[in-house]
C-alpha cells in the first residue's frame, strides 16, 4: 500500500503518509544517516579492540604488520577511492537524469568493488597459505620447513619490501621492543634467529594481530559485498530508467552506504598496513 496512489499531486514514488517528495526525501536521508551511525558504532568495537591491543602490546603489531603488503593495501585504497568517486558522480548523473552516464558510472563502481575484493582475495590466500591466522590457527611456517631462502622470498609476497626499506630504521628506534637480531633481506636470516623477515624474535600472542586483522577486513569485506549487491540492484533499475531529477533517493542512499564503506577503509589502511 505504500507504493500506491497515482492520484493528483501524488507522484508514484510518494508514500501515502508523506505530504510531499521533499519530506519523504529528507526522511529517507535522515534514516540513512542514522543507519550509517549504527554502522560506525558497529565498527567502533573493532577499533576499540585494535586500540587496546595496539597500545598495550605494540610489539605484536610492529612484528606482525610486516606480513602485510603495503603496496597491495595502497592499491586497494586507491581502487576503493576511485569507486567512491564514480559513485558520487553517479548520484549527480541520477540527479540530472543522465541515464547512460549513470549506468556507466554504476558499472565502474561495481567494477571497483570487484577489483577490491580480488586484491583482498590475493592477500587472504597468501596469509592462509602461511598459517598467518587467528588464535590457535596461527601457525606460521617454522624455519625448519624452508627448503631454500629464495623460495621463501617468493612465497611471502606480501612482505617483500618491508625489511629493506623500513625495518632497519624502525629497529633502531624500538630497541627494547624489537631486538635488532637481523637486518638482512627476506629469507637470509639463519634459522633459529627469529623469523625470516628480519624483524627479530617473535613476541607472544602475535595471533591477536591476525585475529583483529581478519575481523576488521572481514567485516569490511562483507560490507563491500553488501554494497556491491545494492549497487547491482540500482544498476538494473537505472537501466530501466527508474531514476531522474524527481526521484533518485535509492541512488543517493546506496551512494552514502558505499562512501561509508570507503570511509572505514580509509582508516583501516593506515592502522593495519602502515604501522611504526
Amino acid at each position: 500500500m505504500t507504493d500506491s496512489h497515482g492520484s493528483e499531486g501524488h507522484p508514484a514514488h510518494l508514500q501515502h503518509h508523506f505530504d510531499n517528495s521533499r519530506q519523504q526525501f529528507s526522511a529517507s536521508k535522515l534514516g540513512m544517516w542514522l543507519f550509517l551511525a549504527t554502522e560506525i558504532l558497529l565498527f567502533a568495537g573493532l577499533f576499540v579492540a585494535y586500540a587496546v591491543y595496539r597500545s598495550n602490546h605494540p610489539e605484536i603489531f610492529i612484528y606482525a604488520h610486516y606480513f602485510l603488503d603495503t603496496k597491495l593495501g595502497g592499491i586497494n585504497t586507491m581502487v576503493l577511492l576511485l569507486s567512491s568517486f564514480t559513485m558520487a558522480w553517479g548520484v549527480r548523473a541520477a540527479q540530472l537524469g543522465q541515464r547512460k552516464l549513470l549506468v556507466a558510472l554504476l558499472s565502474l563502481t561495481l567494477l571497483g568493488g570487484f577489483g577490491f575484493l580480488g586484491i583482498k582475495y590475493v592477500e587472504y590466500e597468501a596469509k592462509w597459505k602461511h598459517g598467518l591466522l587467528w588464535g590457535t590457527n596461527y601457525n606460521p611456517e617454522s624455519h625448519d620447513d624452508h627448503t631454500g631462502a629464495d623460495e621463501h622470498a617468493e612465497e611471502v609476497e606480501e612482505a617483500p619490501t618491508a625489511p629493506e626499506t623500513g625495518a632497519p630504521d624502525r629497529l633502531n628506534l624500538e630497541p627494547t621492543v624489537v631486538p635488532p637480531s637481523a637486518t638482512g633481506p627476506a629469507g637470509t636470516v639463519p634459522p633459529g634467529e627469529g623469523l625470516p623477515h628480519g624483524q627479530g624474535a617473535e613476541p607472544d600472542n602475535v595471533h591477536i594481530f591476525f585475529g583483529i586483522y581478519f575481523l576488521m577486513t572481514g567485516l569490511h569485506g562483507i560490507h563491500v559485498l553488501v554494497g556491491m549487491s545494492l549497487i547491482f540492484w540500482i544498476l538494473l533499475k537505472s537501466i530501466g530508467g527508474a531514476y531522474g531529477p524527481k526521484y533518485f533517493t535509492p541512488v543517493d542512499l546506496v551512494g552514502l552506504y558505499w562512501h561509508l564503506v570507503d570511509l572505514i577503509w580509509i582508516f583501516l589502511f593506515p592502522l593495519l598496513y602502515l604501522i611504526h
Binding site: 521533499r22 598495550n56 562512501h259 592502522l271
Partner: protein, 114 residues
Amino acid sequence: MATEHNHHDQVGHVVPVPLLGGVIAALMILTWLTVFVTKFDLGSLNIFIALGIAVIKGALVVLFFMHLRWDAPINGIVLISSLLLVFLFIGFALMDSAAYAPDQIPGYAPRINP
C-alpha cells in the same frame, strides 16, 4: 525520463564534476602521502600523522562525496554524535586497560603456549 534540470522538483544538492574531480585527486595525493611518510621514522608522531591524514581524507569524502556540506544539519549531528561515542568508548577502554596492564601476566595464553 526527464533530462532537463528542474529546480522546483529538485531535492538535494548537485555537486559539479570538477569539484568531485578535485576531491578524488586530493584523496589520491593524500593516499600517496600517507604511505610516503612511513619511510620516515618520527617516533610516536607517525601514528598521529597517519590518522591525521585519514581524518582529512574522511572529511573530504563526508563533506563532498556524501553531500554533508550542503545537507540538513541534523544529518551532520547524527554523524558527529556517533563519532563522539566512538571516542568515548575508545577513550575509556584505553584509559582503563592501560591502568590495569601492570596486573596482567605477560604473554599469558595457556591454550596457545601450553
